[in-house]
């Protein structure tokens, strides 16, 4: 049991789609009294069940709206599943989006420390790895510039640098290998590789089947909130073209 990094057990996630958020008070009260305050239910994920072992690199594939991001947010603990259970063993660094939790009003330096603290790292520890982060992101001249003045590439670089510098046990990467130029992409891939080599568990999400083929050993194919198929990347490759 101890070699399981992420265990997802019969997880379903339901959202209420309220058609129109603004409702007059009178209408609201009347509807509440008539007990008509229902919303349209939307099941973003249906009965998802899988395990990821420690040190594995698993790809999650699927079209837009297939529930990939919802699944990642559940694993990262941002959502609580409506049904089912998720257990995560180890420190997790979710790159749900590059620069998740950054505040654009503050400088790169402030955001690095803040982001570290979100994952439980002390400012003292962050100080020791701060230089690495800036070096990796190649943002030497921009340390004290507020993030709102950053280009999207700079933003993404900083986000990736922070999330991988804190040496998480589990790294979740969502659609990020498409940002930045090819040089930086190469750098990111190298860093993920080196993390895999040192035993980190990686969950990689992408539409890009070639990236997943390059990096992963196993993959999960999602469609409309359900697992269509789970297996080696070669098998998934065939299935993906059928679904897509």
């Amino acid at each position: 049991m101890n070699d399981i990094a992420i265990s997802v057990k019969n997880v379903s996630m339901m959202f209420n789609l309220s058609r129109d958020k603004v409702m007059g008070l009178k209408e609201y009260v009347v509807k509440a009294l008539k007990r008509q305050l229902f919303y349209d239910e939307f099941w973003a994920l249906k009965d998802i069940d899988f395990d990821v072992r420690k040190g594995e690199t698993v790809g999650v594939l699927g079209l837009n709206g297939s529930g990939k991001s919802t699944l990642l947010k559940l694993i990262a603990g941002v959502f609580k599943p409506t049904v089912g259970n998720i257990t995560v063993n180890g420190a997790i660094s979710p790159l749900l989006e590059l620069g998740a939790g950054f505040d654009p009003e503050f400088s790169a330096r402030d955001n690095v420390y803040m982001n570290g603290a979100m994952f439980g790292h002390s400012p003292v520890y962050m100080k020791t790895i701060y230089k690495d982060i800036i070096d990796f992101a190649e943002l030497w001249e921009f340390e004290d510039v507020p993030l709102k003045n950053f280009s999207s590439g700079m933003y993404a670089r900083l986000g990736f640098a922070v999330a991988t510098a804190v040496k998480p046990d589990i790294l979740i990467v969502d659609e990020i290998l498409g940002v930045g130029d090819h040089l930086f992409m190469k750098k990111c891939e190298d860093r993920i590789r080196s993390m895999i080599e040192t035993g980190a568990t990686v969950l990689l999400v992408s539409h890009d089947i070639t990236a997943i083929m390059r990096m992963c050993t196993r993959a999960i194919l999602l469609s409309k909130g359900e697992i269509v198929c789970m297996g080696s990347v070669e098998d998934i490759n065939g299935m993906y073209h059928e679904v897509a």
Partner: protein, 327 residues
């Protein structure tokens, strides 16, 4: 043992009813000594003390039975202490960013407000209060801390939506960080208070050193109210406007610039329902008048504080997983 939330609520209700009956019949006269004498107030006071004791007993029960849960929560809090620290720092930087005088405003603000109020109430209304500026400043110190910390805490979850939607952070960290920032701010107000206290040569009593007690009470109270409000604001944004009016009303119901002696006897009892009345009174007793507050004053203040904290924490814990769907 596995007891659900509902079970604890039921236990709390049963306990408060039984405590009420117990107190109604057996509360010793020494404790009940300076209670107001009319029947509705007596009922209120008994109900109040019954409710708070029940809440405290239930809280202890929860601590005992759900030990593992509590330890888990404490560990998360410990893990996120750096985040808390940085957030407090950030609140502070944001507040005074781009203002010339910066942090000096924290000191100037209470002084200037006090000046305005003193001018108005000493010339226009002619209240006969000794050391009116100090009277006003002490009231302001407590009340402004409460109003500032709760209003900031109220919006903290909605304001932190950007972070909550992207990363896992314990939600109570947002209101707590705002209350802590307000504590720092209160420190500045206290410096202003001390300054005027010495400048006007107000007589000094040794009870002055008991000031941390009422401050602690008001912090716990504000923390609870702030948590409750921040939870409500997620689901019901209108609370912002309602609270704005509520706090103005509360300000006039609290003896910040008017003397308690001017109250008509009927209103005098009613005003006791206002928690701020007790906190401000307690603070003035120890800081200005050299009275040691009795047992009853402590029970009321601590009761209000713990009841607010208990309710706030309970609502927060019960609701916090739903926030994300409403942000």
């Amino acid at each position: 043992m596995n007891l659900s939330k509902k079970a604890f609520v039921n236990i709390a209700i049963i306990l408060s009813v039984s405590f009420f009956i117990l107190y109604w019949n057996y509360l010793p006269v020494e404790v009940a000594g300076n209670r107001p004498g009319n029947i509705p107030m007596l009922i209120f006071y008994n109900a109040f003390i019954a409710l708070t004791t029940a809440l405290i007993v239930t809280a202890c029960l929860i601590l005992l039975i759900k030990k593992k849960y509590v330890i888990n929560q404490l560990n998360t809090l410990k893990r996120f202490r750096h985040l808390l620290y940085l957030m407090v720092k950030r609140n502070f930087v944001t507040r005074y960013r781009k203002s010339v005088l910066g942090i000096l405003w924290s000191l100037l603000n209470p002084l200037l407000t006090m000046l305005v109020l003193t001018m108005v109430f000493s010339t226009v209304f002619r209240f006969e209060i000794e050391f009116l500026p100090i009277y006003i400043l002490s009231g302001q110190l407590i009340f402004n801390f409460f109003s500032e910390s709760t209003s900031l805490a109220m919006n903290s979850i909605v304001g932190g939506a950007g972070m909550i939607k992207k990363v896992y952070v314990p939600k109570y960290i947002f209101p707590i960080s705002q209350v802590i920032s307000s504590i720092v701010n209160m420190g500045f107000s206290f410096t202003a208070f001390l300054f005027v206290f010495l400048l006007l040569r107000h007589p000094f009593n040794w009870t002055f050193f008991m000031i941390p007690i009422p401050i602690l009470y008001i912090i716990i109270f504000s923390m609870g109210v702030g948590m409750l409000l921040s939870s409500m604001a997620v689901f019901f944004r209108d609370i912002n406007y309602i609270y704005g009016i509520g706090i103005t009303l509360l300000m006039f119901l609290t003896p910040i610039f008017w003397p308690i002696s001017m109250l008509a006897p009927r209103v005098y009892h009613l005003i006791h329902l206002n928690p701020m009345f007790h906190f401000v009174g307690y603070f003035r007793d120890v800081a200005l008048y050299g009275n040691i507050p009795g047992l009853w004053a402590n029970i009321i203040c601590l009761g209000f504080a713990l009841a607010a904290l208990g309710i706030g924490l309970y609502v927060k814990m019960a609701q916090q997983d739903k926030y994300i769907l409403y942000l």
